[in-house]
C-alpha cells in the first residue's frame, strides 16, 4: 500500500516536472497557445465539477468568467491596480455575485437551477453590452496591459512578452487551483457536498445547513471561473461580452461529462483530450463540431462513467470475452 502510494506520488511529481519543461520542447507560439487553452479548460471543467458535487448543475460559468474578466480589466485600466491584485479580485467579485444570487437560486432544484443560471449568464452578457460607458459595449475593450513583470533577485525574470511566460503563469495557477479543489473535495466540506447531492432532505435532517453549503459550492466554483476569466483578457489583451458565450459554457460541461464527473481526474482528462484532439484534426476544421458531438454521444451511450471509466469498462468486456471463449472451447 505504502509502496504503491510512493510510486504514484513519484510519477505525479515527474509529470509535473515534465509540464514545467514542456515549453522547451514546444517552442512555437501556436503550440504554447494550445497548451495554455488546455490548462484553462482543465481548470474550468474541474471547478464546474466542484459545483456539481453538491448536486447543482451550474451553467453560469461563462457569466462568471465574464464578470471576472471585466472586473480585472477595469480595475487595471480605470483604477490602476496591479494585475496581480486584480486577477484574484476578479475571482472574488465573481464569487461574491455568485453567493448573492446563489441564495435565491438554491431554492430551485435540478434543471430549474440550471436554467436560471443560464438566464443569469445571459443577463451578465446583456449588462456588459448595455453599459457602454464602462464596458465599451459590444465591441469590448482593447489594448489591455499585460501582467506586471516579476523579477526575483535575477533568478526569475518574467516579463510576459512571450507566450512561455504566460504558460508558466497558467501552469502555476492551474496546479495551485487543482490542489485547492482537491483539498476541498477531500475535506469535510467536500463530503458534505456529496451528502447533499445524494439526499437533500436527509442532509437537512441531520443538521446540515444545505442552503449554505449549496451557496458555498456555487461561490467556490465561480471563484475559480472568475480567476480564469481574469487571466484571459491580460493574456489575449482584449475582451468583449461574447468572449465567453453560452456555447463556451456548454463546451466546459462537455469536457466534464466526457471525462467523467465521478472522479477528480475526469474533467482533467476530458478537457485535455477534447482540447488537444481537435487541434490535431485542424486540417478538418469544419468537422470539429461533429467530432465533438460524436465523442459526446459515444460517451453517453456506451460509457456512463466517462473516459475515466474506460479501462474498467474494457476489462469487463475483455473478461466477458475470455469467459465466452472458455465456455465454447
Amino acid at each position: 500500500m505504502n509502496k504503491k502510494l510512493l510510486i504514484s506520488l513519484f510519477s505525479f511529481l515527474l509529470f509535473i516536472t515534465f509540464l514545467f519543461f514542456l515549453p522547451l520542447i514546444f517552442q512555437g507560439p501556436y503550440h504554447l497557445h494550445t497548451l495554455i487553452l488546455t490548462m484553462m479548460n482543465i481548470l474550468l471543467a474541474s471547478s464546474l465539477r466542484l459545483i456539481n458535487l453538491s448536486g447543482q448543475m451550474s451553467l453560469a460559468h461563462g457569466g462568471m468568467m465574464t464578470i471576472g474578466a471585466y472586473t480585472s480589466t477595469l480595475l487595471v485600466m480605470k483604477l490602476g491596480f496591479s494585475s496581480w491584485l486584480s486577477m484574484p479580485l476578479g475571482g472574488l467579485f465573481a464569487a461574491l455575485v455568485a453567493c448573492l444570487v446563489g441564495f435565491p437560486f438554491s431554492r430551485l432544484k435540478g434543471i430549474y437551477f440550471s436554467i436560471v443560471t443560464i438566464f443569469f449568464s445571459e443577463m451578465v452578457v446583456l449588462t456588459a453590452q448595455q453599459w457602454q460607458g464602462l464596458t465599451g459595449g459590444s465591441t469590448g475593450i482593447f489594448n489591455i496591459p499585460r501582467p506586471d513583470p516579476i523579477k526575483l533577485f535575477g533568478l526569475l525574470n518574467l516579463t510576459f512578452s512571450s507566450k512561455t511566460d504566460f504558460y508558466y503563469l497558467m501552469l502555476t495557477l492551474m496546479l495551485l487551483s487543482l490542489l485547492i479543489l482537491y483539498a476541498i473535495e477531500h475535506s469535510r466540506v467536500g463530503l458534505t457536498f456529496l451528502g447533499i447531492r445524494q439526499s437533500d432532505s436527509l442532509a437537512e435532517s441531520v443538521g446540515i445547513p444545505t442552503t449554505g453549503f449549496k451557496v458555498l459550492a456555487f461561490g467556490l466554483g465561480s471563484f475559480f471561473a472568475g480567476v480564469t476569466g481574469g487571466f484571459y483578457p491580460h493574456y489575449i489583451s482584449a475582451i468583449n461580452p461574447d468572449s465567453f458565450s453560452f456555447l463556451y459554457t456548454i463546451y466546459i460541461l462537455i469536457y466534464m461529462t466526457v471525462g467523467g464527473e465521478k472522479y477528480f481526474v475526469g474533467p482533467i482528462l476530458g478537457a485535455m483530450v477534447l482540447t488537444l484532439l481537435p487541434e490535431a484534426l485542424r486540417p478538418l476544421k469544419a468537422f470539429v463540431p461533429f467530432f465533438f458531438a460524436a465523442v459526446l454521444m459515444a460517451v453517453i451511450f456506451f460509457m456512463p462513467e466517462g473516459l475515466v471509466g474506460l479501462p474498467g469498462r474494457a476489462k469487463i468486456v475483455m473478461d466477458r470475452f475470455i469467459l465466452n471463449r472458455k465456455r465454447y472451447a
Binding site: 430551485l108 446583456l126 459526446l296 456512463p304
Partner: protein, 286 residues
Amino acid sequence: MSLNALAQTFLNGLTLSGIYILVALGLTLVMSIMGIVQVSHGEIYMIGAYCVYYLVAILEVNFVLALIISTLFVGGLGIVLERSCFRPFRGQPDRAFTISIALILILQNIVLSIAGGNPRTYTNPITGVLKILGIAISWKRLIIVLVGLGLLVVLFLFIKFTKTGQAMLAISQEREGAALQGMDIDRISSIAMFLGCGLAALAGALIGSLFSIHPTMGSFALMKGIAVIILGGLGSVPGAVMGGLILGLVDGILPALTTTHIAGLVGFATIIMILLFRPQGLLGHE
C-alpha cells in the same frame, strides 16, 4: 406615441407571442411526456425555416404548401430523433440533456455546411394590409397570430377529446401508472415528438417570412421557449400560452421604449423573480 404606432407595437408583441407559444408548446409537450429538456428544439425550429427556404426560394413551391411539407418533414425528423437518441434515456434528464446538446452541434453544423452561414430570406406571398379603425395591420404579422391561435385551439381539442390526447395527459402525470393501464408509452412519445417538432418547424418557417434566417437562429427560440414554459409552469398548456403572451408583449413593446438590451434584461429578471416566489411557475403545480 400615436395611437397607430401603439397599435403597431402591440401587434408586434402579439406576433412574437404567437411564435413563442408555438415553440413553447412543442417544448412543453416533449418535456412533460418524455421527462427530458430537449435543448435542440431551437435547431428543429431553424431546420423548419430552412426547409421552407429551400422549398420556396429554390424549388418555387407554393408558400402554404411549403409550410405544410416542412412541418410534416420536420415532424418526421422528430420521430427519428426520438427513436434513435431519446428513447434510451427517457426519464434520465441529465443524460438526455447531454445528448440533445450533442444534437445542437450536429444539426447546426449540418445546416451550416449545406446552406452556409449567410443570412437568407424568402418572400411571403401573403401581403397587403388590413385597415381597422384607421390602423393599418399587415396580414403577414396577423397571419402568425391567427395560425398560433388556430393551432392552440386544435391542440387543446386534441388533448381534451381524443384518446391519444388523454393518454398524453395521463403519461405526463404518472408515467408508470399509465404504462400499467396499457398505454403504449413508446408510441405516445413518438407522437409527442412529432407534434412538438412540427410546431417548432412551423414557428421557424413563419418567423422566416418576417426576418432573415441563419443557422444560429435557434438559440434565441430556445431561450425564449424555455423562458415561456418556466414562466407558465412545466407541462402546462395554458401556462405556456399565458407565459408566451406575457413574454411576447414584453419583448415586443419594451424595445420600442428602451434599448433591446434593457428589454432582454427586464425579461430575464422578471422570470427569475417570478421563479423565486413561485418555483413551479405561474400555472404549474407540484
